[in-house]
Amino acid sequence: MTTAGLTAGLERIPDQLGYLVISEDGVLASAGELENDEHTAAVMMQMVRTASRFKLPGSPEPPFKRMSVTLEDFVYMVTVSGQKVFVVKRQNNQQEPINA
């Protein structure tokens, strides 16, 4: 898949504010609010690595498709496909505040 192929679908995601495509070697593509955001890329990479180490007995591996980091105004959504980590920052349109 070319870089354009990787990002074309990301551009069309509803309410997206920016995205990152990361490989083991670093950021392959970035746009919007996440443009050249190496810091967020590193944090998301670490988080998804940690999350993918969780094993649930008896469940198919891996146990999840997407990791969501939910904040008050926006959500980071992360998934892994073909040795690449895809991160999308989307607006959080849900009205109620989250009292964590």
Binding site: G9, L10, R12, I13, P14, E24, V48, R49, S52, R53, E61, P62, F64, K65, R66, S68, T70, V75, M77, T79, V80, S81, G82, Q83, K84, V85, F86, V88, R90, N92, Q94, Q95, E96, I98, N99, A100
Partner: protein, 160 residues
């Protein structure tokens, strides 16, 4: 061979001293106290049962206690500790050199359609709220775990 996976039956090329416990087992199961290890076949079965029960109680007790007074008598000299420490460090250094460079874990494939997965609806607010609540409960429960000392760790056996 990782440390976590090594098992006790891997005894090839082992220095016998290496696995010698610092505190020797005070009462090995193979050597029960006098009079309990051999039961004549002629005794009535009731007595045999009693003996067997006593033996099992003794064995269980011996397994559950660490005789600290015995540990004092086999005190290692300072230099022996140093020797052991050095021996272990050398062994570890050799082993860590033979380990393949730990490559960071390959990324798992979570989906074959990343765009679809990322474009789908966000997690409902009620679900996020429920998870937050459960996490808060779990945090609260974990923070309340504490050790409640009920009895002395070292006790004297009252032997008449």
């Amino acid at each position: 061979m990782g440390c976590c996976y090594s098992s006790e039956n891997e005894t090839t090329e082992q220095d016998p001293d290496e696995r010698k416990p610092l505190i020797p087992h005070p009462n090995p199961v193979s050597k029960p106290p006098n009079g309990t290890d051999w039961i004549p076949t002629s005794v009535p079965s009731a007595r045999t049962d009693e003996q067997a029960l006593l033996t099992s109680i003794l064995t269980k007790t011996a397994q559950n206690i660490i005789d600290v007074s015995a540990a004092d008598s086999v005190m290692m000299e300072q230099h022996e500790y140093m020797d052991k420490a050095r021996q272990y460090s050398t062994k570890l250094a050799v082993l860590s050199n033979t380990l393949p460079q730990k490559k960071s874990l390959a990324l798992p494939s979570l989906t074959s359609q990343p765009h679809q997965v990322l474009a789908s609806d966000p997690v409902p607010y009620s679900d996020v709220q429920q998870v937050s609540k459960i996490a808060a409960y779990a945090y609260s429960a974990i923070s309340q775990i504490k050790v409640d000392a009920k009895e002395e760790l070292v006790v004297q056996f009252a032997i008449p």
